[in-house]
Amino acid sequence: MPLQNIGTVYRKELTDSLRDRRTLISTLLVPLLLFPILSVGFAALAVTLEKKAKEEIPKVMLLGGADSPGALEALRASKKIEVVPATPDWKDKIINKEIRAAVAIPDGFEASLAQQNPQTVEIYKYEGELKSSISADTVEKELKDYRDNVIEARLDANHVPSSILIPFRIKQDNVAPPEKVGGAELGGIIGYMVILLCLTGGMYPAMDLTAGEKERGTMETILSSPISRLDLVLGKFFLVLTASLVTAALSVVSMGVSFWGMKQLKALDVSKNPDAAGMQLHIGFTAVLSVFLMALPLAVLFSAGLITISLFAKSYKEAQSYVSPLMVLVIIPAVAAMLPGVELTAKLALIPILNVSLLCKELVTGTYHWNFIALIFLSTCVYAAAALFLAVKMFQREDVLFRS
């Protein structure tokens, strides 16, 4: 009978929620659209913008250097920069983005070179402005090429081979399999997104089923039916949990599709640029499934917590103001896990949210520390049970149900 009652409440709440636009948007639409927009959209946008910035031939002013025609000519001959006539207001022009950089060649530069006296060539740029920084780097590279030519000429004049400057070479090589490389790059983000969406997915139904019910005046109606308050809160809880898990599941599916999309994007890039081949993403089905399984107890914790908090509110609006700070509370540990160098330890494995987030980071790289997995799963289950117990207790408090 209690199970039947819980089922009855659950079915009714499901019908009700499926007719609620806010719940549909937060549970279905957001997770389906968020990942493609975030990953493919932003990645494509960033690539395009960077490419555009790099493709632009920057205008650069050469200051001084009248007595150093060789140096001037070397810079003017470069196809990567456009040298424009120098004017006294060159600083303003950089700030106003009329030119991207300026190069100051000291007086007597070439004469000093001939005497082998070191000189400093200064490049002026707009710090923090992407295009100016890229231009300064281009100019620096051109100057370095010119410097290398000077060195080579000096070595030639003294009959010394240029290899004397490079006694040995250094090379970095990756030994980790591709999924570990991809996972290390994206592991933190995946855990973070799944955790956050677990919360947002349950948020609207939780508020609607508690504070919303109070606001619409149906709380007293339902409390006058023979159903026990325990069955009622459990029916509501399972609906919130479903919403939370559906959001998490959809986010995982949409994440998979997004990675596939990104791979396609990278594959296109590879044909044009072989260097991009190393950046391909490999995240296995098992890893994604593991992340989802670890999110399960966390979804229980969130659902019960959300019901407890929103039940306290008198109206939907009030519930929103209670739940918003909860978002911050969840985001902080989830973001902390993304910081480089933060690794899973026995102590951190007991901190809710942070532990699952850190574990997700490991899972997507294919690393399974079973002792940590068990510890995190169990501790999250304990927190979830405590939150559910609290939600049930809250539902039995008259001062909460009839707060005025």
């Binding site: 009714k12 007293e220 039916s225 023979p226």
Partner: protein, 251 residues
């Protein structure tokens, strides 16, 4: 049958301290009778009825509904009660039929019986034209009918009405009053709270006048007229209540 003995409810308020919303109320309400609880705003009517419907738990005293104690067996009490008030709204996104069916299921009706009951009630209350319409699209009258159908679905022996006509237009209010009368004809125990004198005069077999949580007078209309030497119920009410009336209690 409803029986209360010394029924008391205390609330804690941060500003006002402990409030005795209902203070030692005792009465008996028999089957086939309409008991009218008459009182000003904040007198304790709603709290009393909420305790009878087991929505609130008494702080002291006892109450039994159909022989079941409201504290010991609240679910059995609710299974025998139909509760209707202005605060018992409908789920806006459910249809009229879904709303009634939901409460039928919560009352443990088997599906076949539920269907039969729904058809019967919807026909009796002339609700078939809007049974598939969402509750937020219903007129006030249709909403009231749906609420009535909701309270009737499990054929309860006791009906509790808390100011059921508050804020309703005359025609809708009349439907409710007719329904209350019909409940009496069917032998149900009916308790009904209001502050509208004419409704009490028309409907109630026994009248209880409540103020500051205390039941100050009780009896049939004729008995009260006799006791207070007044014909007009409003005058009787004022005579009973005036010495105890505290404006700050009117909420």
């Amino acid at each position: 049958m409803i029986e209360t003995r010394g029924l008391t409810k205390l609330f804690k308020d941060k500003k006002r301290g402990e409030i005795r919303a209902v203070d030692g109320v005792s009465f008996i309400c028999k089957p086939g009778q309409i008991y009218g609880l008459l009182g000003a705003n904040g007198a304790g009517k709603t709290t009393t009825l909420r305790m009878l419907a087991t929505i609130l738990e008494p702080s002291d005293g006892t109450a039994t509904v159909c022989g079941h104690d409201v504290v010991e067996a609240p679910q059995k009490v609710r299974a025998n009660v139909g509760f209707l008030s202005t605060a018992t709204a409908l789920y806006p996104r459910l249809t009229s039929q879904e709303m009634v069916e939901y409460f039928g299921r919560l009352n443990g009706l088997p599906e076949a019986e539920l269907k039969k009951r729904v058809d019967e009630i919807f026909t009796r209350l002339d609700m078939n034209s809007f049974r598939d319409r969402r509750c937020d699209k219903l007129s006030t009258g249709m909403k009231q009918k749906t609420s009535i159908a909701r309270t009737l679905i499990h054929d309860p022996q006791v009906m509790i009405f808390d100011e059921p006509t508050l804020g309703l237009d005359i025609m809708t209010a009349r439907t409710i009053l007719e329904f209350i009368r019909e409940c009496r004809q069917r032998g149900k125990t009916v308790i009904f709270s209001t502050h509208v004198m004419s409704e009490v005069e028309k409907l109630c077999d026994v009248i209880g006048i409540i103020q500051s949580g205390k039941l100050l007078a009780e009896g049939s209309l004729a008995a009260l007229r006799e006791q207070y030497k007044e014909q007009d119920l409003e005058e009787i009410f004022v005579k009973v209540v005036a010495p105890h009336y505290k404006p700050e209690e009117a909420a």
